[in-house]
């Protein structure tokens, strides 16, 4: 039996970074304040002391420039990890990510490979208002040529970076900012590879499939616990990979429960929830006993005050209401 130990999500990210750099000298971390400052969310604290400023590389405020440099460095034989502080700032780098990183392999007829990992924080919950709180994972999930993952647990945060770095294609990792202080178990040694492509069933159940990812997983599990006290047995699926989506796990679950509730902190219209709802409705059309429900963020730039931020984003209450609706209770 493997010994387990408890660490935070932040520590998991840090350990993963440290391990990656120790294992492979082509790996380096690059981004604003990843070095001296220790990372905006303190994920890389201590790493500059350990690996030096070449490999824990502070950049100027130039999201397009250093993301593009990451693409070039990947082409040139390195294994860069680019950190963008927050998904809102990634808008400055989307040209490089979408027009270049995602297209190079195809445009070059398979000659060019961009083994780049981009990490960024996402999500609300810290009262950072409308320019620091969004969840644009769905945008990245729309783009052929990218792989997109979002670890919801400490163990996945510990393991996913490894798999991402093995990937010959660009991988975007979303870390929900509200998770960094969460604690969770990881194995003391070894066995860290995580299959990026498979969703995880975090709770088995028979009555309804709650499908979610990232910062909303905890909320879904909370709702599932309360529902369970009411005698409603929810299955909770953590997508982990949001491009590609793991159809099999989703559809198998819905084939069993015949009801689905999607919980997604992105805005509702045109969000990831829409894709999942569309797939289930298309592919489980004859199985579904009720319309697929979506619990998403309200379509508003996330406001600052706690009560409005809470009201704007998915909460266990809302998830329970949606489950009740699918069960007509």
């Amino acid at each position: 039996m493997t010994a387990m130990r408890t660490i935070t999500y932040r520590e998991a990210v840090r350990e993963a970074l440290r391990e990656a750099m120790a294992r492979d000298e082509r790996v380096f971390l690059m981004g604003e304040d990843v070095g001296r400052y220790g990372g905006a969310y303190a994920c890389s604290k201590g790493l500059i002391e350990e690996f030096g400023e070449e490999r824990v590389r502070d950049t100027p405020l130039s999201e397009a420039g250093f993301t593009g440099a990451g693409i070039g460095a990947a082409l040139g034989g390195m294994r860069p990890i680019v950190e963008i502080m927050t998904v809102n700032f990634s808008l400055l780098a989307l040209d490089q990510i979408v027009n270049t990183a995602a297209t190079l392999r195809h445009m070059s007829g398979g000659q060019m490979s961009v083994p780049l990992v981009i990490r960024m924080a996402t999500g609300a919950g810290r009262q950072l208002a409308a320019q620091h709180s969004h969840s644009l994972e769905c945008w990245f999930a729309h783009v052929p040529g990218l792989r997109v993952v979002s670890p919801a647990t400490v163990a996945d945060a510990r393991g996913m970076l490894w798999t991402a770095l093995e990937d010959p294609d660009p991988v975007v990792i979303f870390e929900h900012a509200a998770l960094y202080n969460d604690e969770g178990e990881v194995s003391a040694e070894g066995d860290l590879a995580r299959d990026l492509d498979r969703a995880a069933v975090r709770r088995s159940g028979e009555d309804v499939s709650i499908i979610t990812y990232s910062g909303s997983l905890k909320k879904a599990l909370t709702a599932a616990d309360t529902l369970s006290a009411e005698g409603i047995d929810s299955e909770v699926i953590d997508l982990r990979s949001i491009r590609p989506l793991d159809n099999e796990t989703i559809l198998t679950s819905v084939a069993k429960t015949k009801r689905a509730v999607i919980v997604d902190e992105g805005w509702r219209t045109g969000g990831l929830s829409a894709e999942i709802a569309a797939r289930i409705s298309e592919l489980r059309f004859y199985d579904l006993d009720a319309p697929v429900e979506r619990v998403c963020s309200v379509e508003v730039p996330i406001p600052y005050p706690r009560h409005l931020e809470t009201a704007a984003t998915p909460q266990p209450d809302g998830i329970m209401t949606a489950v009740h609706r699918t069960l007509r209770r």
Binding site: Y37, P60, G65, L92, Q131, P303, Y304, A311
Partner: protein, 334 residues
């Protein structure tokens, strides 16, 4: 504020005390904010301007009510120096409905249409193109107004900075750019982020006159701003001021300040804008201890009242969550 047109500082006793009063108001207001943050009355990111007060206060002297201001997430000082009420700003920090942005924005997003205060922008460099556009509107409408844009030296690395410099200079727009160079962008020292740390040179290369000023000296800042604003107002195109300053506090309340020595901070504190100006006022006999104490009491009252106001102010009802996403009056804008 006296009309700024002549481009020179008239340092009467009255004016000098007004400068001090404004700096002390900002200082006192922000010290209170830091306290309220630890009490969790204020949340999110809180970026204090402490140490940099001479910049906002000095520059605002050169601006008229019809001018526009674009600032950053470190903008309490600019808002107060512009004359927005401390109560409205404090209520915004609380996230209350009586806040200057109805509580929607918090510390990083203070707006006031009446004062032509266009934020408050939490995207580093994001305000620069906006300022260019405001000035373009003025120019196209034949209005003799200045748009003043504040930003940090870290922003100068962003592409949006260079694009904005070029547009403003190319189209000879009435913008006054004020770079508050406090030496650090979060934990990154300027020399580690700019191959050429001479920020003014990055504006000058676009053919824009660029001045460097001691940002710890409110009178110097005012003088530079008056000169520059006068030229801008005269239709000479954009002007750039790089103001060398320093923040005494951490970048935000989350910052462990691993990247700089305490001694460096202490050195700069000795040159603090409030302490230095106060000393000068006393040394020259322009003011007396009693004047200073009176101002202290005055600003304490204002800040105290602001807190009382913010505490008492109502929360926005949750039902109003989606208000102001789109205009209710579609098709009805003037």
């Amino acid at each position: 504020m006296s009309r700024a047109e002549d481009g020179r500082v008239h340092l009467t006793r009255e004016h000098a005390l007004e400068l001090l009063r404004r700096m002390m108001l900002i200082r006192s207001f922000e010290e209170k904010c830091a306290e309220l943050y630890t009490q969790e009355k204020i949340r999110g990111f809180l970026h204090l301007y402490i140490g940099e007060e001479a910049n906002a206060v000095g520059v605002m002297q050169a601006l008229e009510p019809e001018d526009a201001i674009v600032a950053t997430y470190r903008e309490h000082g600019h808002a107060l120096a512009r004359g927005i009420s401390a109560s409205a700003v404090m209520a915004e920090m609380y996230g209350k409905a009586s806040g200057s942005s109805r509580g929607r924005g918090g510390s990083m997003h203070i707006y006031d249409a009446g004062h032509r205060f266009y934020g408050g922008n939490a995207i580093v460099g994001g305000g620069l193109p906006l300022a260019v556009g405001l000035a373009l509107a003025d120019k196209m409408q034949g209005l003799t107004r200045v748009t003043c844009c504040f930003f940090g030296e870290g922003a100068a690395a962003e592409g949006e900075f260079h694009e904005s410099m070029n547009l403003a200079a190319l189209w000879k727009l009435p913008v006054l750019f004020v770079c508050e160079n406090n030496g650090y962008a979060m934990g990154t020292a300027l020399s580690r982020s700019e191959s050429n740390p001479d920020i003014a040179a990055h504006a000058a290369v676009f053919g824009m006159p660029a001045d460097v000023v001691d940002g710890m000296n409110v009178v110097d800042v005012e003088a530079a701003a008056r000169r520059a604003a006068k030229a801008v107002r005269a239709g000479e195109g954009p002007r750039f001021i790089e103001s060398k300053t320093y923040r005494f506090r951490a970048h935000s309340m989350f910052d462990a300040e691993l990247y700089r020595d305490k001694s460096e901070v202490e050195e700069w504190k000795k040159r603090g804008p409030v302490i230095r100006f106060t000393k000068w006022l006393l040394d020259t006999g322009t003011a007396h201890e009693s004047d200073i104490e009176a101002i202290e009491r005055e600003v304490e009252t204002i800040v105290g009242d602001a807190v009382t106001f913010a505490e008492a102010a109502p929360w926005e009802p949750v039902d109003d969550l989606t208000r102001d996403v789109m205009s209710p009056a579609k098709g009805a804008v003037r």
